[in-house]
């Protein structure tokens, strides 16, 4: 049994954490949110330079890490520092490229020359129905894509998109370049900080990644890697909210005593602390599962997302409640951590979705 992350990973965590704390603290982040760009490319570039993206991928694929625990370390620091950037999209898109041996593309992203995102979710119209899957047609040596994807992380800023086309056993993945003919992006800010966009393809030239109609399992594992990332990001945010709430319960006085003296609040604080530890364990399980691969990866990832959804909402809501009015303000960091934590629940399927998936995967395993 060994729960340590290893010296190298700890060094990476320290350097990412220090960079974010020094260069991208609470005030700098608020400034970036208020800027016309709505985020800080500079902070993103700084993290890439320190190896945040390189650590996500194996050496063979052009990175210098690639294990589930490398991902854990990077996303833990992203959570603790509330870093903004297409990290999650880059991870999942890069995992698809990694599986296909597309090293040249990964090297460009690791080197910070190109920004990579993942267009996987069907767009939805005002009637709440999902668009048809993106359709791919052969055109000469390559393919042409037609269809729409929704809430694509940093769509307007990205240089490269990995796009899921088709569905089920017909699923394929393609690489599309920003500015390609027939590609349009409607960009907007997201409530938890950063950007996303609606992406429409109309006979847009695209290059096949890997084999046609064989991407389902690869995408499943890439998304599982994304869930591991969210589990560690969410866990780190929960730690921050727990610590800030403890500090506030010690400091804030009402009725002549620190509010932490009230037993009702002590008990709730105790529950928060317990659920943070459970979320940590779920994140560890998900990372171990991802290393194992196959059904184990998917099941542990879903288990982590269920835990993250439930425990994350509890931590976010209780942190705000115990801070009172001050926890509701824009200027105070608690609200921004809470917003990110809640919105993590909205990425890659919510806890209801993953609870069902956990049940279904369990049946598959038993069969």
């Amino acid at each position: 049994m060994d729960f340590s992350l290893g010296t190298e990973r700890e060094l990476l965590a320290n350097s990412l954490g220090r960079y974010l704390a020094d260069k991208f603290g609470s005030e700098a982040r608020l400034k970036a949110l208020a800027s016309p760009e709505g985020w800080s490319r500079e902070a993103y570039d700084g993290l890439v330079e320190l190896g945040a993206v390189g650590a996500m991928f194996t050496e063979e694929a052009g990175g210098y890490g690639g294990s589930a625990f490398d991902i854990a370390v990077v996303f833990g620091e992203i959570g603790r520092g509330l870093a903004m950037g297409p990290f999650l999209g880059t991870l999942m898109a890069g995992k698809v490229l990694e599986a296909a041996g597309e090293t040249a593309v990964i090297e460009e992203v690791v080197g910070g020359e190109k920004l990579l995102t993942f267009a996987h979710e069907p767009a939805q119209g005002p009637d709440g129905r999902a668009a048809e899957p993106v359709r791919a047609e052969k055109a000469g040596d390559g393919y042409k894509l037609t269809g729409a994807k929704g809430v694509v992380s940093f769509a307007d800023e990205a240089d490269l998109f990995v796009v899921m086309a088709g569905s089920g056993t017909e699923l394929s993945t393609f690489l599309v370049k920003a500015g390609a003919p027939g590609l349009t992006v409607q960009s907007y800010p997201v409530v938890d900080g950063g950007k996303a966009g609606e992406v429409v393809f109309k006979d847009t030239p695209a290059a096949l990644i890997g084999e046609e109609a064989k991407a389902a399992q690869i995408v499943d594992q890439a998304v599982a890697a994304g869930l591991v990332a969210l589990a560690w990001e969410g866990y780190a945010i929960m730690q921050v909210l727990r610590d800030k709430t403890v500090e506030y319960l010690r400091e804030r006085k009402q009725f002549g005593i620190p509010i932490g003296k009230f037993q009702a609040l002590q008990h709730r604080m105790g529950t928060m602390a317990l659920e943070v530890e459970q979320a940590h364990s779920a994140a560890i399980n998900a990372a171990v599962g991802l290393e194992e691969g196959g059904n184990a990866a998917l099941r542990a990832a879903s288990a982590a997302k269920v835990t993250l959804g439930k425990n994350g909402s509890l931590l976010a809501e209780e942190a705000i409640q115990m801070h009172g009015g001050i926890g509701m303000t824009w200027e105070f960091a608690v609200s921004h951590y809470a917003k990110r934590l809640i919105m993590i629940g909205h990425e890659l399927g919510d806890e209801d979705y993953h609870l069902q998936r956990f049940i279904d995967l369990g049946k598959e395993e038993a069969a």
Binding site: Q124, V191, Q321, M328
Partner: protein, 398 residues
């Protein structure tokens, strides 16, 4: 026991519906339904429409411009205007200061201030909380010292809702620092345009400005602006808070929001079928409906008792707790219904006349902002923790 509407109640409901159909501007109900921001002018417009009909302050006595409605009629009225997506009546003058003046104000004060609330001459805000006095409101420090025919006020209030629109603020101030802290508080009406009053907006987590800090530096307030007796303000404040808490249950507003939620869940597809058919979502929706129906009857019982002269005590704390929990659960399910589309944050779409390209499901635009904004419900008006203390204190007597 009979919970059915009498024929008179039904006729009254039709009357309210006809009024809303004729007089509620579509422009306003559209904004409310879409969760867009209401301007000061929007709120004033709706107040004027209600005032013209004599329905702005139904709970006031007839001789001051109120109505003689029964408890049931008031409930029907509140429910109908909420279900029609009418703007909420701004409570500070009509529902908070009004009842205090009616009970504790002098004749001069009633005759001067009450008509000005109704015709919109004054916009009131509430000066209760301070940075060091939240849940422990009685520890407030803003000081008023009597000098001749004036009080000189120094201190700071915070979380002043819609203070940016107000020209008047009713404040709890300390007029005596000796003895029990509750016994040195007075209730003072202050003109915001007096020299020394400064307002600073606070930006909330959803990016919106609805609360403020208010600073007082040597502000001169005429003694005739003292309500009731000096050092008796805590009694008046508690009376007001009890009123605030029956309002805070917001059953009508929750019924309207629940309807919107149900429509959204019926429309929204998840994994190839309507979300409302998802067993987990359907279970939470059903639980919510049950809680809301129970709350409706609890609220009616409290109102009925109040109508028979029984001042609501712990019951109004119960209404506050469960009423706000229900509203928060609705906003929680709304954001969950939107899935990934809860994240897009297009601030311009919260303003009237936005005609940008729609993003995602029609209902999704404001769901995240609403969810985060409604965290305030369990904090303000006396936090839900304080409400629970009030309930148990009244039972345990320890």
């Amino acid at each position: 026991m009979d919970l059915k509407f009498s024929p008179e109640d039904q006729a009254f409901r039709e009357e309210v519906r006809a009024f809303l159909k004729e007089k509620l501007p579509q422009r306003l109900s559209d904004k409310v339904r879409k969760g867009q921001h209401l301007s000061k002018a929007d709120m004033e417009e709706w107040h004027a429409i209600l005032h013209e009909r004599g329905w702005l302050a139904p709970h006031w006595p007839v001789e001051h411009g109120g109505t003689d409605w029964s408890v049931m009629q008031r409930f029907i009225f509140e429910t109908e205007i909420a279900m029609a997506h009418a703007p909420r009546v701004v409570p500070f003058g009509v529902s908070m200061l009004g009842p205090v003046l009616l009970k504790y104000g002098s004749e001069e004060q009633k005759n001067h201030w009450l008509p000005r609330i109704l015709d919109g001459s004054d916009w009131w805000c509430q000066g209760y909380s301070e940075p060091g006095a939240g849940s422990d409101l009685a520890s407030l420090k803003t000081k008023a010292v009597r000098e001749g025919d004036h009080y000189i006020v120094n201190g700071q209030k915070t979380w002043t809702t819609l203070g940016q629109h107000a020209n008047m603020i009713f404040c709890l101030v300390r007029t005596n620092s000796e003895g029990k802290k509750q016994e040195g508080i007075s209730f003072l009406l202050i003109d915001m345009n007096t020299p020394g009053v400064e307002l600073r907006p606070i930006k909330l987590l959803d990016g919106d400005y609805e609360v403020n800090e208010v600073f007082f530096t040597d502000v001169k307030v005429p003694v005739e602006n003292l309500v009731g007796e000096e050092n008796k303000g805590w009694t008046y404040a508690k009376y007001l808070l009890t009123y605030e808490r029956t309002n805070i249950a917001g059953v009508g507003a929750s019924m309207a929001a629940f309807k919107v939620l149900k429509e959204a869940a019926s429309m929204q597809f998840r994994n190839g079928k309507p979300l409302i058919e998802d067993p987990r979502f359907a279970a939470r929706l059903a639980q919510l409906e049950i809680d809301l129906e129970n709350m409706k009857t609890t609220n009616l019982r409290v109102l009925d008792a109040a109508g028979h002269g029984k001042a609501p005590g712990a019951e109004s704390s119960m209404l506050k707790i469960r009423g706000t929990e229900i509203r928060q659960e609705i906003s929680d399910l709304m954001r969950r219904a939107a899935g990934s589309y809860a994240r897009p944050f297009i601030e311009a779409s919260f303003e009237e006349g936005y005609n940008g390209e729609p993003v995602g499901p029609a209902f999704a635009g404001p769901v995240a902002s609403d969810y985060f904004n409604y965290r305030k419900l369990s904090i303000f008006g006396g936090s839900n923790e304080v409400q629970r203390e009030i309930i148990t204190k009244s039972m345990l007597g320890l």
